[in-house]
């Protein structure tokens, strides 16, 4: 094809893009979506599209919170749930990391333990609730046990994969420069597996609340799950929504916490992202 005409010159698109007139802070931008959803939710409820037994409006949820708070019910049950989750999380993370290190570092550990863990992981934890009650009774132990179990697996899977994924070349460099086995684990392998562990931690945090709510709905006299269950028997949809909203808020906070952890622990990567 013969091109005989003059060449039309254009500016690369980048230079023509207009800068926004007002710079909106990131937090404001992030919060716009949830606020819009809340507003829409309130709007739909005030139009009486659903009955108040089916869906509670945000305002009704806030009222329910206020009511429960004034009775002291909200604080005590939230606290007990948080305590169970924290205990389960600590135990589960410890177990998951210990197993991951055993399987990640030692072939014997991998050959003996990993198949067992993989099989155990396939068992739905919620199916263990009745058994946990038989084993540990109805106190705190079965709930903490189930929550711990729920975080062991995501921590294990991700940390183990991360340990195995540590760059062999770095391990080799460590060896040539005189690191012994423990030095290698401490300086190269565990820090290298940290990003994977943090991914596991995110999954584990989600899992804790799932297990917590089920454990408390089936057999408990306290906790957020118990509150939801009680609210069902009295048709208090507002309380049910209120408790679920608390779960959502806790989830966001937990995620923010992990992100804060990532930022402090993985500083060496941040400088890369900032480039």
């Amino acid at each position: 094809m013969a091109d005989t005409g003059a060449i039309t010159l254009v500016r690369p698109a980048g230079t023509r893009r207009r800068r926004p007139l007002v710079r909106v802070p990131r937090l404001a931008r992030r919060i716009t979506g949830p606020v819009a959803v809340l507003a829409l939710w309130q709007l739909v409820c005030s139009q009486h599209v659903f009955s108040s037994v089916e869906v509670a409006s945000p305002v009704a949820v806030a009222d329910a919170w206020r009511e429960l708070w004034s009775q002291g019910v909200l604080q005590s049950n939230l606290l007990i749930s948080l305590q169970r989750v924290a205990e389960g999380l600590v135990l589960g993370v410890a177990a998951g990391v210990a197993l991951a290190v055993l399987c990640g570092l030692f072939w014997v550990g991998e050959d003996l333990l990993d198949p067992v863990i993989q099989a155990a992981r396939a068992v739905p934890i919620l199916g263990l609730v009745p058994l946990a009650i038989i084993w540990f009774g109805v106190g705190e132990v079965p709930k903490v046990f189930l929550i711990a179990l729920g975080c062991t697996f995501p921590i294990y899977i991700n940390t183990y994969a991360a340990i195995r994924g540590v760059d062999v070349k770095l391990v080799e460099a460590g060896q040539t420069f005189g690191l012994n086995r423990w030095g290698l684990v401490r300086t190269v392998i565990l820090p290298g597996a940290l990003p994977g562990f943090l991914v596991g931690l995110r999954f584990a945090l989600v899992s804790t609340w799932i297990v917590d709510v089920v454990a408390e709905e089936i057999n408990a006299q306290s906790g957020l799950g118990y509150l939801i269950n009680q609210a069902q028997t009295t048709d208090r949809t507002d309380i049910m929504f209120g408790c679920l909203a608390i779960y959502a808020i806790l989830g966001v906070l937990a995620d923010a916490l992990v992100r804060l952890l990532e930022r402090t622990l993985l500083t060496w990567r941040r400088s890369f992202k900032g480039a």
Partner: protein
Amino acid sequence: MALTSKAVLPTTRQPAGEPAGEAAVFASGVRKSFGGREVLRSLDLSIGRGEFVALLGRSGTGKTTLLRILGDLDPEYTGDVLVPQRRAVVFQEPRLIPWQRVLPNVALGLRPGTGGRAGLRHQSLSALGEVGLASHAHAWPITLSGGEAQRVALARALVREPQLMLLDEPFGALDALTRTRMHALLQDLCARHRPAVLLVTHDVDEAILLADRALVLTDGQITFDAPVDLDRPRDRGDRGFTALRNRLLAELGVTGPDTAEPVSNGVQVS
């Protein structure tokens, strides 16, 4: 120049026993195979104290395999190998630990000696200073350029005061300008510390520029071994340089630039 001599090994080999005290590397009858394929076939090599030896060879001829055996990175070989206790390796990639800042990377694996932690720190800082990066002691490795990272890797090797430095194509991934600067730096450092050096490279000019002796590895055996008898600093345009380059290229199976090539990069008339 002893360019015509082929596969001449220094006669330091002794019947069953300790090699001469002046040797930094003594290897004899080294064999290594990967899955039935013999990579090193009864290889003999000795490197003198403070001697800079360049090992050339086409890819897949076993250069890196030999270096890894000398660096104790590959225990599965047969034959006799003696190397000094204080060794250091510089790999093709810097292999710095990304989650440690530059200074602890230099001190990696070193235990505080008589000077304690402060002594170790001082030692590492001065090694960094020697490669011109003292100001980067607290930087994260990821913020360094390729050349800077490789200089840190050099400092990490130097700080151990090695009696043998094993360099596995350390400048292969660098741009030409940086590589030239690294050559000067390496020459300077070697002149000061006098370690024995084995430089694995596929860059013939690099070998002639830096080494006291050039080896060519072909099919798992050393098929060429000659000293580089050129005055330093060496000039690529020098006649001796060119002659040795052509000789080495021929040994590597590459037709030299002075022989007519069937296709030039000029315009082809069809």
